[in-house]
Symmetry: C2
Subunit: 183 residues, 2 copies
DNA sequence: TTTAAAAACTCTACGGCGTAGAATAATTCG
DNA sequence: CGAATTATTCTACGCCGTAGAGTTTTTAAA
């Protein structure tokens, strides 16, 4: 945690980044979150060394989550459908590539991936004129749908694919479109 | 597991039902799934006794899930909106009353709560004339939304309520209504 | 009445987990 | 050289699920 960057003291072979990257790599490779012991073995270090950089395992997992944010599509254009599809797909890909992080992600209070998704969702829908309430309702529906589907994907190993997002998502977009047409 | 009901052998103080009921009660009380050790302590029995009735812990949790099915609303009427609301609310209540069972539930292949929800969903929407594809899309959207929201509820301890289901659900129902009007 | 079979349950133990707390190692500054 | 500072390791505790062998309690056959 509080790692001083001054030159005094024993030099470090480890770093928060190295730990996070290693944890991420192991998770992608094995499909599940590594134990602290397995992680430290991979880093060729004592398990307790991890705790010099992270308060506890949960703090480490939050750091992993934060490092994933950059993989979320950042909408810039005015084609809201295309942006929503790209946004949803990138988010779902992220979630399904890193199973087991969902709980951590949802318990994060600050600027986690979920929060970032919501911000970019709102940016993507800027071209649409809609009452705030409708915007909120559709947002909650979409966000929690994605979380739920990601959970289902990790439950039924491999049977579900990212492509199956398309159907429900197009239903959702039609709905939004009609709401906009009415306003 | 394979519990013979014949009269031979030592009589049993335990039963699969008693174990399941106790596990359920402890889970509702503490908000999390009990360990086998804690469960067996409550039952005043050796931990390994549980394994006479269940192959492993996961099988026990599946049994708990099965016992929850009866709490799911069973639509009989023709007012599809009312039925969907009741169905969704009962399902979400179930999920939020029994946190930690979501993963088990989603990994169940046979007739689990999720499967039953889907059957009753289809029954509820019988009055509506809709293409099968639309029916599937909206179903997946709703089911996974509910799972995602349940997960969010258990993540952010107590901050989210069942009432917050109303907004997204009404958006979803408006969408379905418009799809039906168009057909 | 003894005995064997059967069923229900207990005992002991293993290997895993997260992590607390004390000890040690390696560096820099006075 | 010694003291301070930082990084890392060592040892140990209390959880967890559960394998495998042993024990208790019953019924049915000999």
């Amino acid at each position: 945690m509080s790692v001083k960057t001054g030159k005094r003291g024993r030099p470090s072979q480890l770093s928060a980044e190295r730990i996070v990257e290693c944890a991420k790599a192991m998770q992608v490779k094995t499909g599940k979150i590594p134990s602290i012991r397995a992680l430290s073995a991979e880093l060729e270090v004592d398990p307790m060394a991890i705790y010099h950089y992270f308060r506890n395992k949960s703090a480490l997992l939050e750091a992993v989550c934060l490092s994933l944010i950059e993989a979320i599509h950042n909408p810039q254009g005015e084609d809201w459908r295309a942006e929503i599809v790209a946004l949803s797909q990138s988010y779902l890909t992220l979630l399904s590539t890193h199973p087991g992080l969902l709980e951590t992600l949802l318990s994060m209070t600050g600027t986690g991936p979920a929060q970032v998704f919501i911000e970019r969702y709102e940016r993507a829908l800027r071209p649409l004129v809609l009452p705030q309430e409708t915007l909120n309702q559709s947002r909650d529906l979409l966000v929690d749908y994605l979380h739920g589907y990601a959970l289902a994907m990790q439950g039924s190993q491999g049977a579900l694919t990212i492509e199956l997002l398309d159907g429900p998502l197009s239903f959702w977009m039609r709905a939004l479109e009609r709401e906009a047409a009415e306003a």
